[in-house]
Symmetry: C2
Subunit: 387 residues, 2 copies
Amino acid sequence: MKILILGGDGYLGWPTALHLSDGGHEVAVLDNFARRGYDFEMGVDSLVPIDTLQARIRAWRDLTGREIACYIGDLTDADFTCHVVREFGPDTIVHFAEQRAAPYSMVDRKHAVYTQVNNVVGTMNVLYAIAEINPDIHLVKLGTMGAYGEPNIDIEEGWLEIEHKGRKDRVLFPKRPGSFYHLSKVHDSHNIEFACRIWGIRATDLNQGIVYGQQTAETALDDRLATRYDYDAVFGTVLNRFVIQSVLGLPLTVYGNGSQVRGIIEIRDTVRCLQLACENPADRGEFRVFNQMTQSLSITQMAETIARVSPEKVSIDHLANPRVEEEGHHYNVVHSGLVDLGLDPHLLSDTLIESLFEITKRFADRVRPEAMVPTVDWRRSASPLGW
Amino acid sequence: MKILILGGDGYLGWPTALHLSDGGHEVAVLDNFARRGYDFEMGVDSLVPIDTLQARIRAWRDLTGREIACYIGDLTDADFTCHVVREFGPDTIVHFAEQRAAPYSMVDRKHAVYTQVNNVVGTMNVLYAIAEINPDIHLVKLGTMGAYGEPNIDIEEGWLEIEHKGRKDRVLFPKRPGSFYHLSKVHDSHNIEFACRIWGIRATDLNQGIVYGQQTAETALDDRLATRYDYDAVFGTVLNRFVIQSVLGLPLTVYGNGSQVRGIIEIRDTVRCLQLACENPADRGEFRVFNQMTQSLSITQMAETIARVSPEKVSIDHLANPRVEEEGHHYNVVHSGLVDLGLDPHLLSDTLIESLFEITKRFADRVRPEAMVPTVDWRRSASPLGW
């Protein structure tokens, strides 16, 4: 099928593009390079050097003979968005193209407003493009497990069968997100569910856990195909940051007491989940939700797992939690939808971590340890960004 | 107390300003006149002529000796918003300043995006201004009953005690809004609840029913104090439109079979609810929700009530429903919070309707009947606006 990948230059968008191209699909990527711009703003860079999007696409063609089409522009530009959907004519649109870091959204008012406007308007423009041009297009939209917050009940897959005062209904799972970024995903989900209802379009919302890892079968083929690997306190996700701290012999920094439990997923499973969602589309009018994660671990368990196999002897440091989040909470998540479609999960293992240690060692001289110190404080309305 | 009324030039903002000023509070109004601008776009006008905001304020001073301060500007301009909050120094901010018509938000992509960006960003700027300048300020925010949609369970006041697989939680009531406008209110509520949680601010979210009526004790003092009265298919709410159709001897136009049930409230109760919410603030960190409505009626019941007492003999016409909404649904709403604070509701009565007939007759020559024909179709991604 023809698949358009929005945010196809990013940490996960790029490996997904390669995986779907390798799977025989006709792939196009769209990006505005906002993610590369955030690096300039923060004075950091991916630990693993990444090539330009154009060079990556050329390398993939040279290595495999497969073409990936490329559109450079911004989804908040509705004319551009419509033009691309009309010209490429996708069967499926995979939408990674949002600002995706909670701390970045919590820097100050400007970053909060930017995150919500960028994410919500970009998605609305995609919905309108689908409704106008071809309502049969399947939208596969990236969301986040973090949008659920820490409810005291089990987390179902997007919808909840509810009984109240003797009556029943099926409702969107009530969410309690923990940042203006997470809120933007909740807003998106509400908007998309409404578009399914009024226009009969088909959508799959993927509530993704924290992703770790850096290589997929496709990116590992050649250095020119590498995807980014972030370790800074803003865009670096917790497991990747722990790996880098351990290679450098630095303490693993846990926020608060570390009893917060999070759903996680390995990057190879992410690209496989995207493939399964694309190849098994939602029905017309259906707002389908999957919890895209493979296991739950507390932050302390993640730190202990890394510390146990670390090449350096490392300690675990507890920092005052800069976020407002619950500790010691209930966390039990249903995540069977993608397994039912054929996902065979990779769980966190020594093997995977060791490959991450190798990558980190190779580029250790590129790490700026200062960038790993959290500076964005949820309790303040403005924080400094970066080191 | 010092009360800043955002959207203080509007249908309800202006009568609320007068009622609170009359109640002895020090009142300021803020407006960008967006609502007057929509009239130009649609080629319509309030049935009742309204004076400029400046002239209204002068008339109120001449009649009562009471001053109302006035700020002209846009909440999406964060510098302006902060400046006003800093200069006026309110104890309470009442926030009416949003695009408030579902059909307007459903015209096309531009109107949908405008509605969500205007409403969400304006509210975020207010939240940041409160957090930065004085987190003790009580935010009283107007929402809508329509944001709930038509759940098959009873509608509680904003929060829902839930039991699932043997565990319990208290969650935001899961909503299923029926337009991009209603969605913007759901987004606002999520953002405000989060701000209460992280910054400890205090907020009251008022999910208001469909308002009818045109006069309050204060606006009735003098023609120069009149508030607007809309009858067009975009901004005219259903009961007000039925009154005008009946005075003109036109059929009352019901969308669909008319079994849709809606919560309603009279304008005098609206201003009283606002006073009660302001004078009984939420606690620090509390996100308090009231369902601001006094009774539930089906659209058919509303039409029959008007037809029964109409000065002209009128029929009831059923139009194909331009909206996507359920008919024949369950609708049972808890709305005791404001009654507990002291609200003594006015229910829909012949007396009230007769006063509306008088007003309508006085200005009947200003009606453009074409503007009452619905043109915005929920099932299309773009519709013509207005007649």
